[in-house]
C-alpha cells in the first residue's frame, strides 16, 4: 500500500512538523505576517474567511494566485491553500504555485458532488476534513497526508468539531477491540478501505496526523480539542473576525502548546476583547451546513 512509500512519508513528514501548533486562515500578506509573528506554525491562504463566505453567499473558489504569491513572499512558515472538493485543476494550479499543503475543503463550493481528488497524483501533500472514521479512511485512501475535523466552519461554535473528533477517536478505539474476522464487515459498514481498517486495528491510530478545525474561537476551545486528541488546531474565522486578532492569535498559540495546563490557558484567555459572535448550529438551515459537503 502507498502509505509505506517514500513519497508518502515525505508528505506525512510535513504534517508531523506541524503538530502542537496553530494554522491560521489569512486573506492577505498583512494578516499572514500577523499570524507568523503570533507564533502560527503555518498559514492557510484563502479569499474570504469562512464566516464571510457564509455571510456573502455565492460560489467560493480557490484564492487568487496573486494573493497566494504575496502571502508566500511575506512569511517563512509553510503556506497552505484551499481547493474546491473534486476540483483537481485548481489543485494543479496550487501545486504549480508551490504552496506547501493543499486543503481540499468543504468551506469552498464543491466542484464535484460525488468524487474527491485523487491525491496520490500530486507531489504536494493534502489535508482533508472528516466527520467520522469512514470519511477519514476514505480520504487517506485517496492519498490525504493529514486529516482535520470538519466541524462547522465560520460558525465560531466548537460543538461540531467536538462531535467529529469524538466520532473518529471513539471509532478507532472500538476497532482495536475487534477480532480480525470482524474487520471486513467493519470496513464494509464504514465504507472504508479494508487495508486501512486493518492498519487502525494494528496501530491503534491513523497512519496520518489528525488535527481539529471548524469553530475554534477561544484559547479554551483549542485546549479542549487538543485534550480530545487533536494534534494541532486550524483557526479560521476565529482570529481575524475577533476584535483583537493579534492578542487572540498569540493566546491561541500559547493555549495549544500548554493545552494541559489550565493556569496558562486561563492567563492566555485574559483581556482578549470580543471573540467572534458565532452561530447556534441549530439555527443554520440544513442546506447551508458546510460539513455535509
Amino acid at each position: 500500500m502507498f502509505i509505506n512509500d517514500k513519497e508518502f512519508k515525505v508528505k506525512v513528514g510535513l504534517a508531523e512538523m506541524l503538530k502542537g501548533g496553530v494554522i491560521m486562515d489569512v486573506t492577505n500578506a498583512e494578516q499572514a505576517k500577523i499570524a507568523e509573528d503570533s507564533g502560527a506554525c503555518a498559514v492557510m491562504a484563502l479569499e474570504r474567511v469562512p464566516a464571510d463566505i457564509r455571510a456573502d453567499g455565492g460560489v467560493a473558489r480557490m484564492a487568487d494566485p496573486t494573493i497566494i504569491e504575496q502571502i508566500k513572499a511575506a512569511v517563512s512558515i509553510p503556506v497552505m491553500a484551499k481547493t474546491r472538493i473534486g476540483h483537481f485543476a485548481e489543485a494543479q494550479v496550487l501545486e504549480a504555485l508551490e504552496v506547501d499543503f493543499i486543503d481540499e475543503s468543504e468551506v469552498l463550493t464543491p466542484a464535484d458532488e460525488h468524487n474527491h481528488i485523487d491525491k496520490t497524483k500530486f507531489k504536494i501533500p493534502f489535508v482533508c476534513g472528516c466527520r467520522n472514521l469512514g470519511e477519514a479512511l476514505r480520504r487517506i485512501g485517496e492519498g490525504a497526508a493529514l486529516l482535520r475535523t470538519k466541524g462547522e466552519a465560520g460558525s465560531g461554535n466548537i460543538v461540531e468539531a467536538v462531535r467529529h473528533m469524538r466520532a473518529v477517536i471513539g471509532a478507532i478505539r472500538r476497532i482495536t477491540t475487534l477480532d480480525d474476522e470482524e474487520l471486513m464487515t467493519k470496513a464494509k459498514n464504514l465504507g472504508a478501505p479494508y487495508d486501512l481498517v486493518k492498519y487502525v486495528k494494528a496501530h491503534g491510530g491513523l497512519p496520518v496526523p489528525n488535527f481539529a478545525a471548524g469553530g475554534i474561537a477561544t484559547p479554551a476551545d483549542a485546549s479542549l480539542m487538543m485534550q480530545l486528541g487533536a494534534e494541532s488546531v486550524f483557526v479560521g474565522s476565529g482570529i481575524f473576525k475577533s476584535s483583537d486578532p493579534k492578542s487572540r492569535a498569540k493566546a491561541i498559540v500559547l493555549a495549544t502548546t500548554h493545552y494541559n495546563d489550565p493556569k496558562i490557558v486561563a492567563e492566555a484567555s485574559k483581556s482578549l476583547g470580543l471573540a467572534m459572535k458565532g452561530l447556534d448550529i441549530k439555527q443554520i438551515p440544513e442546506d447551508q451546513l458546510l460539513q455535509t459537503r
Partner: protein
C-alpha cells in the same frame, strides 16, 4: 545519575522523537516550560517551526535557559537551526551551541522535500535521510565536525556534546543517531 531525556514539546514532531526513546527504553519527558527542565540530562529539539518556538519560549523567558543547556543536545531540522550561531533566511538569532550558519528552507518549499540515502560517520551502512523543508549548514566552523553527508555536503555536524542534523532520523526506523546521542 540516570539519563532523563527532555524533548522540547512547544511545537513540532516531538512525539516522533519520544517514540524512538520509548523503543530504546530510556526515561524521557516533554518540555514546555522552564520548570520541566529540572532533572533533564539530555535535551532534544525536534523539527517544527522556529518562529513558533521563538515566540512561545521568549514570551516565557524560557529561551535563554534553553540556549545555555549544558548537557548533550540533539537538534533535528528546526532544532539544528536553533542550535546554530547564525541563522539565515531570514536572519535571526540562534543559541550559538555550534559554530555553524544554518540557512532555513535551503532546499526550497515542500515540493522540494525528499528522502535520500546518505553517508554517516557512526555507521558503515548508508542512512535514510528525510529532508522536510530542510536547512543547510552553509558555514561550518573549524571546531565543528561533520558526521553525516549527502554527496559532499555536511547534513549533520557535532561539536562536543552538541549534535545538529538537518534531516529527521526520528521519522525512520533507524535509531542509531538517538543511541549515539545518549552516549554523548
Amino acid at each position: 545519575m540516570g539519563i532523563l531525556v527532555g524533548v522540547l514539546a512547544i511545537q513540532g514532531d516531538f512525539k516522533a522523537h519520544i517514540k524512538v526513546f520509548k523503543k530504546l527504553g530510556v526515561a524521557h519527558k516533554e518540555i514546555r516550560s522552564e520548570n520541566d527542565l529540572s532533572g533533564v540530562t539530555h535535551l532534544v529539539v525536534p523539527g517544527g517551526e522556529s518562529t513558533t518556538i521563538r515566540k512561545v519560549a521568549k514570551s516565557e523567558g524560557f529561551w535563554n535557559k534553553l540556549a545555555i543547556f549544558r548537557g548533550p543536545v540533539l537538534g533535528t531540522c528546526m532544532g539544528s537551526v536553533l542550535m546554530a550561531r547564525q541563522i539565515e533566511s531570514p536572519k535571526a538569532e540562534g543559541w550559538g551551541m555550534l559554530d555553524i550558519t544554518a540557512k532555513r528552507n535551503a532546499y526550497g518549499r515542500q515540493i522540494n522535500s525528499f528522502t535520500a540515502e546518505g553517508k554517516i560517520a557512526i555507521s558503515e551502512k548508508p542512512f535514510e535521510m528525510v529532508f522536510i523543508r530542510a536547512p543547510k549548514f552553509v558555514r561550518v566552523g573549524d571546531k565543528v565536525e561533520p558526521i553525516a553527508w549527502l554527496g559532499d555536503e555536511a547534513t549533520g555536524v557535532i561539536s562536543g556534546n552538541k549534535m545538529a542534523l538537518a534531516f529527521h532520523p526520528e521519522l525512520t526506523d533507524n535509531g542509531c543517531f538517538h543511541e549515539y546521542f545518549l552516549g554523548l
